[in-house]
């Protein structure tokens, strides 16, 4: 008896030995388009207006030099956290708790100011580098704990980095409710001016066009960090070791690479980058330590890293796109829509990877 088929064609998948150049970018973009269509349908189903929502996101994030500057402000911590995730994920080291390292970095930078170690009126050329250094250092140590546990005892880093995030959250709450609370409010006193990263608007007296533009020096630092991580990963021996461990840990071990040391090192760098996200955010935008100053920059950085396929330059592009989504998403109701869109985008992008592994075509029966 002839078998009846549902489809008039069949899907044939052949294993690719190597993906053609540029196909990765193409499938990522295709995945994003599919994700936006699916999200649009879902928004329509729950009674929203998808076209209106998307148009609103574009207008509210890229529509004028003012909002474009705000988008870059939101993109700044995402570049740092995206890089933090990228370097760890490239080695298949799952530092999922970058949000916690971000918080601890913010705490470290605040401590420089709020412990009063520097006399009032210290030059910003001393205060700001110290804050950034403290942010990097405390973030690095926080991730380093998880790295050490992974390297020495093989404790699952996904869980430890996440648990350390919830601990960091409570640590911040302790300081802003307790020792650093300003008049019983859940925030620290405002930092003095020398602890603010310079913004474009600070130069408005010389160049009036810059008035109101809040993009700050942290954005430049983030671009520099992207360049450094790119150089580290693709042009140095250490970067080669990291990539080899990620692609084939067994081969790396036979090649004599000390995997444990690399785990700790990469965790320190990753946590430090996430710490810089927190330090630059409170020094450049919030100007004080407070609870809930991050809308989840660490977690969004995970998605940024995957969209960029762990390429530091791609991280910058993806971070700006998600900066736009976060900026415009604040006004979109219901509040869960940006998280839902992020999840759908991530799903579609990783699902589209199948086209990198297989040549898929349709064949008539």
């Amino acid at each position: 008896m002839p078998r009846r088929h549902l489809l008039p064609f069949r899907i044939v998948a052949e294993r690719r030995l190597e993906a053609p150049r540029g196909l990765g970018l193409l499938t990522t973009l295709g995945g994003i388009v599919v994700a936006l269509v699916i999200s649009g349908v879902l928004i329509a189903v729950i009674g929203g207006d998808p076209i209106g929502s998307y148009a609103h996101i574009l207008r509210a994030s890229l529509g004028s030099s003012g909002v474009l500057s705000d988008t870059l402000v939101k993109a700044t911590p995402l570049i740092f956290t995206g890089l933090a995730s990228s370097i760890a994920f490239r080695m298949r080291l799952w530092n999922i708790g970058t949000e916690g390292q971000l918080l601890m970095g913010a705490w470290g930078a605040s401590a420089v100011v709020l412990f009063g170690l520097l006399p009032a009126g210290t030059s910003p050329f001393i205060t700001l580098p110290l804050m950034m250094l403290a942010g990097f250092g405390v973030g690095a140590l926080w991730a380093g704990v998880a790295g050490w546990l992974k390297a020495r005892l093989n404790v699952n880093e996904i869980i430890t980095t996440l648990m350390l995030f919830w601990i960091a959250q409570r640590w911040i709450q302790y300081w802003v409710f307790g020792p650093w609370s300003e008049g019983g409010f859940q925030m620290s006193p405002r930092f003095p001016r020398e602890a603010w990263l310079p913004r474009l608007t600070d130069f408005a007296s010389a160049v009036p066009d810059l008035g109101g533009l809040t993009v700050h020096l942290g954005f430049v630092l983030a671009l520099v960090a992207a360049g450094l991580i790119w150089f580290l990963l693709s042009r140095t021996r250490k970067g080669y070791e990291i990539r080899l461990i990620g692609d084939n840990p067994r081969a790396a071990r036979y090649a004599g690479i000390d995997i444990g040391r690399n785990i700790i090192l990469v965790m320190l760098i990753s946590g430090g980058l996430a710490g810089l996200a927190g330090a630059s955010e409170i020094s450049g935008v919030v100007h004080r330590l407070q609870d809930n100053f991050s809308p989840g920059y660490g977690f969004t950085g995970i998605i940024v890293a995957f969209l960029a396929r762990f390429n530091p330059i791609g991280v910058v592009v993806a971070a700006i796109a998600f900066g736009a989504l976060i900026l415009a998403g604040r006004e979109i109701q219901p509040a869960g829509i940006p998280a839902m869109i992020q999840g759908i985008i991530l799903f579609c992008v990783i699902a589209s990877d199948v086209f990198l592994r297989y040549r898929v075509r349709l064949e008539a029966r």
Binding site: I158, I159, L162, L346, I350, D353
Partner: protein
């Protein structure tokens, strides 16, 4: 607050962790990590509460919550089993997606109060046992008793039945299982979906029995991730996983209860409500999870036991495994 009551409250809250962890345990035994537990729990909590409220029947809510969890898990299954995407990434995507979807669908529900509730029972005879009776068998939700029964059943299923043998074979040696005529893909899909259904049940347990109502993004803090950790602590065995679930929930509960009395043994309570120091108390459960993982890791290193050998690896028929 007596110790028995604190344990009883811990067991109630621990049942949420238990269901989620047993679900994850099944999926991981088949070789598939699903890090979307928290997302599936969020959707389960929302569906369970919302359907329970609308139909007035909590059991219908639970059933649909399990179906919703299973459907989300199916998505993870398709992406990670057939499309061979990285299981860790796919699970993370599921967490984002599930949490977002639940928040979108739960918009405005937070003020809806607590709707349909589940009955509580005391077990005759058993509840008369000193200490254990009041802690485990008095005025507990019917779902808590389901949890007591689930653990031995799951254990028997995995270690003493033919389907359980197939399950373990697929998780340890999928190629060998395939050669023996076991359908690796079918087994993996079945247990991933079952795992999702348990996560959905865990969610509905939270919103219908433990903390009735819909509390938006505060419904769960870390429960889904703690469940994943408990599977590791439990060495992929239901019994040990249950002990971990009740222990973590008990300590979390204790951290809350310790903030209530103004003084303890005549001394001023340093953790009295709204003192900044309470935040250190609130760190306890998360610190405990890390500690418990360290203990488990040391034991695993010493005894050379570990995760199912094929955990996290996609199976492609006819290809050599990585």
């Amino acid at each position: 607050m007596s110790l028995e009551l604190a344990v009883a409250a811990g067991v109630t809250a621990g049942t949420v962790l238990l269901f989620a962890a047993i679900g994850e345990l099944f999926a991981e035994r088949a070789g598939v990590i699903n890090l979307g537990v928290q997302g599936m729990m969020f959707v389960g909590a929302l569906v369970g509460f919302r359907v329970g409220l609308q139909t007035g029947d909590a059991w219908v809510g639970i059933l649909l919550a399990m179906l919703a969890g299973g459907a989300l898990a199916l998505l993870h299954g398709i992406v990670s089993i057939h499309l061979q995407a990285d299981q860790i990434v796919s699970g993370l995507a599921l967490t984002f997606l599930g949490t977002g979807v639940a928040l979108v669908l739960g918009e405005g529900l937070a003020s809806a109060g607590s709707g349909a509730l589940l009955p509580v029972y005391s077990v005759p005879l058993l509840s008369d046992i000193p200490i254990l009776g009041p802690a485990f068998f008095t005025n507990q939700s019917v779902l808590v008793y389901v949890g007591y029964l689930l653990v031995p059943i799951a254990s028997f299923w995995i270690f003493h039945t033919r389907p359980g043998l197939h399950l373990r074979a697929v998780g340890e040696q999928p190629a060998a299982a395939d050669a023996l005529g076991i359908n690796v893909y079918r087994v993996r899909y079945a247990y991933v979906i079952a795992g999702g259904a348990f996560a959905g049940l865990a969610g509905a347990t939270q919103s219908l029995a433990v903390v009735p109502g819909w509390h938006a993004d505060k419904t769960f803090i870390a429960q889904g991730w703690i469940a994943v950790a408990l599977v590791i602590f439990g060495q992929w065995k239901p019994g040990r996983t249950m002990i971990g679930a009740y222990l973590v929930a008990f300590i979390s509960r204790l951290a809350l209860d310790l903030q209530a009395p103004r003084d303890i043994f005549g001394l001023e309570n340093p953790f009295f409500y709204y003192q900044p120091s309470t935040f250190f108390l609130n760190m306890l459960p998360f610190g405990l999870v890390i500690l418990v993982l360290i203990v488990a890791a040391r034991e695993a290193n010493r005894k050379r036991i570990g995760a199912p050998a094929a955990l996290g690896l996609p199976y492609v028929r006819g290809e050599r495994g990585r």
